[in-house]
């Protein structure tokens, strides 16, 4: 009986084990093996080099630039995405005629593919015919080389990514804001509580768990950014928008340095792990504060 049940369990688990094994566990294990190897142009390992790939990585200026801009990018993107989405969610939660239209517009970016969106933004960033340059010219402001200036290129990528991620964050946060009982706001109305007091004592506490969730998802999403970089800047100028995932792709499939790419992947994994741990630690402390 026991044996039969174990067999059944195995059969039922088999599809997941096969799929996860093929696409997650096998690549993961192979990555850990590849970080110790020097590879040829086809990506075949030719020589054991120990930790040399890591040591080279941390002595490489381009990689240090990558790490720095990735950090700036991820933090800026997450904060702006959540702030903008939260602001829009609070605005759109008001019961007003025609609000449905705005809710649709605000969440619409969810339905646009990264490639299409990136190409749209590429047009807008164009120095000759782009919308942004035209606006600057109309306002008699100095021209900006949106995608070829090291700082502005990063700003451009951040702006594009925030815009793309807002849809999802907005929709989830809108649900949370709308779920707040209206009688809490009626108490505030009766006493003429200021907007700030309402936000601090009612809206924020009630939506905190959702904000945390959206923050985690947005952060992990930001770490995985690829399409925008590929289409808008291809990592340039001079590695200043060379986000980690894009750098991994470049090293693995363009420069054919699989060992180095594997080492970068491990670094990225560790960074995401650290961020996740910090977030969950903060959340636990919050939860502990409320019990009691």
């Amino acid at each position: 009986m026991q044996k039969k049940q174990n067999l059944l369990a195995l059969v039922l688990l088999l599809p997941s084990i096969v799929v996860l094994g093929m696409f997650v566990f096998y690549p993961m294990i192979k990555t850990f093996w590849l970080i110790t190897q020097l590879t040829d142009l086809m990506g075949n390992p030719i020589k054991f080099v120990g930790f040399k790939n890591f040591i080279n990585l941390f002595h490489s200026d381009s990689f240090m630039t990558s790490i720095t801009v990735t950090m700036i990018f991820v933090i800026a993107t997450s904060i702006f995405t959540v702030l903008c989405a939260y602001f829009l969610a609070i605005l759109a939660s008001k019961k007003m005629r025609g609000m449905g239209l705005f809710r649709t517009i605000f969440s619409a970016t969810m339905g646009i593919s990264v490639t299409v969106a990136s190409i749209l933004w590429l047009f807008m960033f164009n120095p000759q015919i782009g919308l942004f340059s035209k606006v600057l010219a109309a306002l008699h402001l100095p021209d900006v080389n949106w995608l070829s200036d090291p700082v502005w290129a990063l700003v451009a990528i951040i702006g594009t990514t925030v815009w793309m991620n807002i849809g999802f964050a907005f929709l989830i946060l809108l649900g949370a804001v709308q779920a707040i009982p209206t009688d809490l706001y009626q108490v505030a109305d009766l006493n003429g509580a200021s907007k700030w007091l309402r936000l601090r004592k009612i809206t924020l506490p009630a939506t905190e768990p959702t904000l945390f969730f959206v923050m985690v998802v947005t952060l992990i999403n930001a770490f995985q950014t690829f399409g925008q970089v590929d289409i808008l800047t291809a990592g340039g100028p001079d590695y200043h928008t060379n986000l980690l995932v894009y750098s991994i792709y470049q090293d693995a499939f363009v420069n054919h340095t699989i060992g180095r790419a594997s080492a970068e992947s491990v670094v990225l994994t560790v960074i995401i792990m650290i961020f996740t741990f910090i977030q969950f630690y903060l959340n636990k402390r919050k939860a502990a504060k409320y019990a009691g």
């Binding site: 009688d183 009626q186 108490v187 109305d189 006493n191 506490p205 409320y290």
Partner: protein, 357 residues
């Protein structure tokens, strides 16, 4: 503080009329109950008084001041909500003084008033707890304390007891009523529960589909209902409404029973008989089989098939050794009958006040 509602009308965007010409005056220190089935408009009136929803027509006066177009905060009201409306992230104390904080009341005054109301509602030892750690009754007391601390002389209550269990509800009923009388508060109280309306109210307004059916003291509504809707709403088991004919000095019931009854009216009437307005007697004019019997301990509820549209409901204060199917006979006490004419208006009434004692 008194409240005057003059010709209040409220229509939703879809054209649905939820309030049709509501007029009343709520006197200072009165416990005023708005009662009705769901959808009758009772909560809408409360929300209109609070200023949460705009009204389409009419005026609302509080203490002689027209507040129709004032925002809620300038009406100086407090409110107790059905779901307590406590902020889960704030402690009992913080919840109670939320309004004072919003109004920038002096910190020392806040503490002083806080301690006062905590004692009034017996929550002093819970002041640092969060609402999630309190029972339903305690939560509602916090909500009550928050209303009291504001010093508002009018407190609106929106079904405050409907989330509590029966025993607690009876307890809180007494507590709220005692507090209201002790502090001389004007309370506007919304409920769908006829027992709450009867036991707590000085004045009761019964609403039905946005219209006032009757306003009056609880016993007046019970003893002299303006129409069959009011008669049917109050009382448990519900009143018996029988068809009948007035002919000269005789009243004939639908099942053929005739009794002597002097009334200037003639023609078809509906006769309202409270379940307790009967006397069991073997010689009774009404007789029939028992279809349902409920022993209550302190009395018995019986349904009897008497040949009318539906079984006749009886309520006697004795324990009876009877069961379903048994034959029973009884008389209706004619001086406690109510007569309603073809337009559903009360036209005749037994001399109840003389009967009392």
């Amino acid at each position: 503080m008194s409240i005057k509602l003059k010709h209040i009308k409220k229509t939703y965007d879809n054209g649905e009329e939820v309030l049709k010409d509501i007029n009343t005056e709520i006197e200072d220190g009165q416990f005023y109950v708005l009662v009705g089935a769901s959808g009758s408009g009772k909560s809408t009136i409360l929300n209109a008084i609070a200023g949460f929803i705009p009204i389409n027509d009419g005026t609302i006066e509080i203490d002689g001041r027209d507040v129709t177009n004032l925002p809620p905060k300038d009406r100086h009201l407090a409110m107790v909500f059905q779901n307590y409306a406590l902020m889960p992230n704030l402690t009992v104390s913080e919840n109670i003084i939320f309004g004072l904080k919003a109004r920038h009341v002096d910190k020392e005054v806040q503490q002083e008033r806080l301690n006062e109301v905590l004692q009034t509602v017996h929550l002093t030892e819970y002041k640092d707890k969060r609402p999630t750690n309190l029972s339903g009754g305690q939560r509602q007391r916090v909500s009550l304390a928050r209303a009291l601390v504001s010093d508002a002389k009018v407190i609106l209550m929106d079904e405050p007891l409907s989330n509590l269990d029966a025993k607690l509800r009876a307890e809180m009923r007494r507590e709220i009523r005692a507090l209201q009388q002790h502090l001389g508060l004007t309370v506007v109280y919304v409920t769908h529960d006829q027992t709450e309306a009867m036991t707590m109210g000085d004045q009761v307004m019964l609403l039905n589909q946005g219209r006032i059916e009757q306003i009056g003291a609880p016993l007046d509504l019970y003893n002299a209902p303006a129409n069959t809707y009011v008669a049917d709403f109050f009382g448990s088991p519900a009143i018996n409404l029988l068809d009948g004919q007035l002919m000269g000095n005789r009243l004939q019931f639908v099942n053929g029973v005739e009794i002597t009854f002097n009334h200037e009216l003639a023609g078809p009437v509906r006769i309202g008989v409270r379940p307790e307005s009967v006397r069991l007697t073997p010689q009774g004019a009404f007789r029939g089989r028992i279809t349902h019997i409920e022993p209550l301990g302190d009395g018995t509820n019986i349904s009897v098939e008497i040949g009318a549209a539906e079984p006749f409901r009886l309520k006697v204060s004795d324990q009876l050794n009877l069961r379903t199917g048994n034959e029973i006979a009884f008389d209706i006490l004619p001086d406690q009958m109510m007569l309603f004419d073809a337009d559903d208006r009360l036209v005749g009434l037994g001399p109840i006040n003389e009967l009392a004692v």
